[in-house]
Symmetry: C2
Subunit: 322 residues, 2 copies
């Protein structure tokens, strides 16, 4: 492997439910060496740390990068974190992780800077440094998935709020009297989260509505995911297009509020549903502009996240290279 | 007048529809000399600038402050401003003010730094430096009036957004399918602006509902303002309390979204209706906490703005002393 002398590198670790993905990333955002370990059998803190530490050593060896050029390790985890201390409060879907001083432990073992953050924050930092946000100083990053994750870039820096919990754009209320959840009423992700989109399709299909969605799952409605709805929409299916239009309008409502509050230069949208392309972004752009007065509408942009599958690892590395 | 040597002072100018208020303010936020000129007869840019310049000279003389101790003039205007250039795009309710390079003109005449900003931003800076926001680095400032004005303090600085228009919290949508306005649908101020509150009272009273509000205006419904509704609420009137509860819940919806997005330490609420006290702040606190998950609910505070009638002048001066 080519090695430019004097460069800075970091190893990014993306802690996913299925895989632990790792990457050696340079300060230009390029990925030099990758690793992918199944999470199963390594999900407990002790074994997880040992596995990551091992892989880290191997990757350095394989890359030929000198130890002195490694600035540190960045870790993105699916849960609540105190970024300042690199302390994991809790990982909602991974048992065994509660109150783990992850940065402290790793740091004492590898002797390098270790930064730990929520995975969505890590992705946002990555997109902002190396992806779609590269040219911007004020951006809102949104990931569409089970929920709606978010992160804010303000004056070139990730904004964390008074107690490190800012950026929860999935809980913006788009309807004062709307659906209840533990986060209040009418929260955005109560309308556009993956499960909600599928529920909406099911409700219509069970009423007997005709749609390509049904064909795409061979009549087995329990197999419907946002992917099939997107495929049907791309093929011009009316129900699927309606669902995307509704989702886009809900997102546009929250984006309009965010625009009036923060006036970002750009919204960067990532996550599974963002791969749907035009069927999402066309109505999203249209509805957002309908919901803004001219001076705001004329200046705001929406773009797709660029880092794709590497967003997690590159983002985690960016926590150190930032 | 006592004059502490080596102090820095600024003159703040609050450009209101009825009065031009001016104040000589020291860097501790104390007001030393006041002036109040009727706006009538001085509303055009040329005469306005001459009047302010005159008053400025007189105030300096009267105060005994040495010219070298005056850091400059800060001006808050009721309209759209480019803060960087001190350029007034337009004052919505004052004809004659369109594309006026106010800072440039004043600066060339008085030979001091001149800063110009929207009056709500100026008040927010004042509250943050010298009032309720003094101990905070992250705050949202809201003024309740005809509309709902807002400003954001982020990491100790007023946040202006990508194109100087951020902080328009009055346009946060609290209902995706709600009232239309040039700013979109369901904007907060479409529900809690002064006129909307009065309309709500009128609707009920015209339906024949009994209420102290009617008595307070001697049966002349066209005389109802938010002040009478507040007075009735403070006297325990049921309709008036309902109106305040509704208003508080609408505000709480927007404040909850702001909390999830920005996680400020504090909301600072000023403007006419904020003088209503408990009848507003009690339900506002309650509804906000209902609409937030525990980690957010337990950390956020709502306080009343402290600068009162001097908020405009002290705030304008703070633009220079900031």
């Amino acid at each position: 492997m080519k090695n430019n002398k004097g460069r800075r590198y970091a190893v990014g670790v993306d802690f996913g439910g299925t895989y632990i993905k790792m990457g050696l990333v340079d300060e230009g955002g390029r990925l030099w060496v990758r690793r992918k370990l199944p999470t199963a059998g390594r999900s407990q803190p002790e074994e997880w740390i040992a596995a990551v530490r091992n892989a880290f050593d191997e990757m350095i060896k394989e890359s030929g990068v000198r130890a002195v050029e490694i600035a540190g390790i960045g870790i993105g985890v699916p849960g609540l974190v105190d970024f300042e201390r690199g302390f994991v409060y809790e990982l909602v879907n991974v048992p065994g992780w509660k109150d783990v001083p992850l940065a402290e432990i790793m740091q004492s073992q590898v002797g390098k800077t270790v930064r730990v953050d929520n995975d969505v924050n890590a992705m946002a930092v990555g997109e902002c440094m190396f992806g779609a946000g590269r040219e911007h100083r004020n951006a809102v990053f949104a990931t569409l998935g089970t929920g709606v994750g978010g992160a804010l870039l303000i004056e070139g820096k990730l904004y964390r709020g008074a107690y490190s919990m800012a950026g929860e754009i999935g809980h913006i209320s788009i309807d004062k009297d709307g659906r209840r959840s533990p986060q209040g009423r009418g929260g955005l992700e109560q309308y556009v989260g993956n499960r909600r989109i599928v529920e909406r399709a099911l409700r219509e299909l069970r009423r007997g509505r005709r749609s390509k969605i049904r064909t795409l799952v061979g009549g087995r409605l329990d197999r419907i995911t946002p992917r099939e709805i997107a495929a049907a929409a791309q093929a011009g299916d009316r129900l699927a297009l309606e669902i995307f239009d509704f989702m886009a309008d809900c997102l546009a409502t929250a984006f309009a509020s965010l625009t009036y509050i923060l006036q970002p230069e750009v919204f960067i949208v990532g996550g599974g549903v963002a791969h749907s392309g035009k069927v999402l972004f066309d109505p999203l752009n249209r509805h957002l502009r309908e919901r803004l007065s001219q001076p705001f509408a004329s200046r705001v942009q929406i773009v797709r996240a660029r880092l794709g599958n590497d967003a997690g690892t590159v983002g985690a590395a960016a926590l150190v290279l930032h």
